[in-house]
């Protein structure tokens, strides 16, 4: 069996790409570096209490009292571990990577849901993106973007895109066919159907995808630390190389605390809490109608009657 030089071809291709469009990688690198640095400055510069208050309020509005309490305690613990700056560096890396991954993944998911050919073409690509060992991404990432935070973000994005695509496609496909037909039957344009019917009804699934994107991005933090990205990953890598159990435990714990916060927060986005639903119902009912002041008890009646 002759050796097929697949690896050599890939290596040649990377070399060629690098020589052909070096400005492209420079541009990407500069933009990402700027965005991550800016966000990190914004998160890490003010005293921790400022952002802890903001995070707690977010948790309260989006999810409720439980998560708000958790948020206060978790971030105070991070501060006491003296890992606040590293945690904020990691958070900014995760946010940038997740936003970009979602910005790429969700539209591809929409296309895949609408066009069978896209779905068929995209599926094996997603499969290989998810199963290729993470470190394999790192090699070309270093070639293209050098060391530091940018190759970490790029590798993180590549790793985090697939669930965004998959859950968006799934969510849109699962929208009740009759409801889509109803929009068609009343003359809605395809774009209107997407905006007014498919996306809103697929939102829980899409948000579950965004949640997965964020969680995967967070799991890539340590890997990014290997490439020299500052943050909790760097602390973990240092602890591993120095066999420092104490530091490893503390930084690992900080990653988990951050992960739980982000997970609960984004999971709640797809399913509005009783509180936020109540707020929304109230604001909708009061202004124009005026006359229809219904009590909540009243509105429960037909639901029981139908059961």
């Amino acid at each position: 069996m002759p050796h097929i030089p697949l690896g050599q071809w890939m290596s040649d291709f990377i070399d060629w790409l690098l020589a052909a469009v070096p400005w492209l990688f420079d541009a990407i690198s500069t933009v990402m570096q700027t965005v991550v640095d800016g966000l990190t400055d914004a998160l890490a510069t003010p005293p921790p209490v400022v952002w802890i208050v903001v995070f707690t309020l977010l948790a309260l509005v989006i999810r409720g009292w439980g998560l708000a309490l958790y948020t206060v305690l978790a971030f105070l613990l991070v501060v006491s571990l003296e890992l606040w700056v590293e945690t904020m560096q990691t958070l900014s890396l995760v946010l940038v990577a997740a936003v970009i991954a979602a910005a790429i993944g969700v539209p591809i998911g929409i296309l895949a849901a609408r066009h069978r050919a896209v779905s068929v073409a995209v599926r094996p690509v997603l499969d290989s993106m998810q199963t290729t060992p993470v470190f394999v991404y790192l090699i070309p990432a270093v070639f293209f973007f050098g060391v530091g935070v940018v190759p970490g973000v790029v590798a993180t994005i590549l790793f985090a895109i697939p669930p965004g695509v998959r859950l968006t496609e799934l969510g849109i496909r699962q929208v009740d066919r009759e409801v889509v037909e109803a929009a068609q039957a009343f003359g809605a344009r395809p774009g209107q159907i997407l905006r007014e019917v498919q996306l809103p009804l697929a939102l829980p699934s899409i948000m579950a995808g965004v949640n997965q994107v964020i969680m995967l991005a967070l799991s890539m933090v340590v890997t990014a630390g290997l490439l020299g990205a500052a943050g909790l990953g760097a602390v973990v890598v240092r602890a591993v190389t120095q066999l420092d159990v104490a530091s490893g435990f503390e930084s690992g714990l900080a990653v988990v605390l951050l992960a739980v916060f982000l997970d609960r927060l984004t999971a709640a986005l797809g399913h509005p809490t009783a509180l936020s639903r109540l707020l929304r119902v109230r604001t909708r009912r009061t202004p124009p109608s005026g006359g229809t002041a219904e009590t909540p008890q009243r509105s429960e009646e037909p639901a029981q009657a139908s059961a």
Partner: protein, 400 residues
């Protein structure tokens, strides 16, 4: 006037080898064989009908008979493989995408089996959906939606969300959405099938009432023959995507085209389908005011009957002449049938009333139940034998 909606040779094949499946179907190959030989599903084959303005046209068939596909072919949500659909003489296949959307928005509305409301919008916003798509100003949207919701009796729930309503109420919203669009044609895909029997009955009543006020042209899909008989001016029986029979309810009951239809009709409550008009027969005899009493008495004797309708010059019922009173009149020397010979020993019914409403009157009097029009003219009679025939008969098979 041309029909509002006309389908001609309407055919739909789902699957990869459409042309071959069409050819086989055209040769009369059955649905199962088409599937086995081409892998294509012959959902609807060569269905044609015309629906007149104001008609409630029912398409009736079991699940898998192609009725849901058929109704979606009528507004081209499903693209026909062959055949044409015309709305007011306009061929749907000749329309551009934009024109087709306008037609759906303004002239053909649809009501769905599982309501298909937007769960994240209020009842009012759902009702106004067609108007919003049309780009109608907000105030007018609201006005039209509120009118439609009032019409279906749901205006007080306009600010609720669909999931706060019961199934019957949700379908009222579905109906209001179609009414607010103010289109002539209403396509209703098993609209009441997902509802409890009592609610279903209410909704049928509501539809009948709306129809008397609004005179829409309706294509109504159902798998329930009782519902079909109750609502439909005409019924198209669909089986395996093909038309089995097309006719009025009583026509289908009295002369089912084949075993399949006969099976269905055996379950139907005939007393609600058959009307006085369906059962009426020519009276065996009538008498006129002023006719000879002796002559009428002899006719009665020959027919072994106890009484006869006496009509005035306008064919209206003046009363009933009974044999005992006629005999006394002859004895007492009155020769012409007049007021003294007449009794009110009879009952009448309008021709459109169903049997269930008059069955208790049949055979109660000296003369058979009279069927009269609005001005009291005698159109015919319903003798007891006619009722027994209609209820008991194994329906006569239609020839051919």
């Amino acid at each position: 006037m041309p029909p509002v909606l006309r389908a001609t040779g309407l055919t739909k094949v789902f699957g990869p080898r459409e042309q071959e499946a069409l050819r086989l179907a055209g040769e009369g190959v059955g649905r199962d064989d088409v599937l086995r030989r081409t892998g294509c599903t012959l959902a609807v084959h060569d269905v044609g009908f015309a629906v007149e303005r104001g008609e409630l046209f029912v398409v009736m068939g079991l699940s898998g008979s192609g009725k849901s596909t058929l109704v979606r072919l009528l507004n081209r949500i499903v693209e026909p493989s062959a055949g044409t659909v015309e709305v007011d003489g306009q061929d749907l296949r000749a329309l551009s995408d934009a024109d087709l959307r306008n037609l759906r928005n303004e002239r053909v509305s649809m009501v769905f089996q599982h309501f298909a409301l937007l769960p994240h919008r209020s009842v009012r916003e759902n009702a106004a959906y067609a108007l919003k798509v049309r780009g109608v100003p907000a105030a007018e949207q609201r006005e039209r939606a509120d009118w439609a919701l009032r019409t279906v009796g749901l205006l007080d729930r306009a600010d609720a969300r669909p999931d706060q309503l019961s199934g019957g109420m949700q379908q009222r919203v579905g109906l209001a959405r179609a009414l607010a669009a103010d289109s002539d044609v209403l396509l209703m895909d098993e609209p009441f099938s997902a509802l409890d029997p009592l609610i279903r009955r209410d909704m049928q009543d509501l539809l009948v009432q709306l129809q008397t006020e609004l005179h829409k042209t309706i294509v109504f899909i159902t798998h329930d023959l009782n519902e079909a008989m109750r609502l439909g001016d005409r019924i198209l029986m669909l089986k395996d995507g093909r038309t089995v029979q097309l006719g009025t309810g009583p026509e289908i009951i009295s002369a089912p085209a084949d075993e399949y239809v006969a099976d269905f009709t055996s379950d139907v409550d005939r007393t609600r389908v058959l009307t006085a008009g369906d059962l009426l027969r020519e009276p065996r005899m009538t008498a006129r005011l002023g006719q000879s009493t002796g002559e009428v008495l002899r006719t009665l004797g020959a027919a072994e009957a106890n009484g006869v309708y006496v009509l005035d010059d306008g064919q209206r019922i003046a009363g009933v002449a009974r044999d005992d009173l006629l005999a006394r009149a002859v004895q007492e020397g009155r020769t012409a049938v007049g007021a003294r010979e007449l009794v009110a020993d009879y009952a009448t019914i309008a021709p459109d009333r169903p049997l269930v409403e008059f069955i208790h009157l049949v055979g109660k009097h000296a003369v058979p139940l009279g069927v009269v029009d609005g001005s009291g003219r005698l159109l015919g009679v319903v003798p007891r034998a006619a009722v027994l025939d209609a209820l008991a008969a194994v329906p006569a098979r239609r020839e051919g």
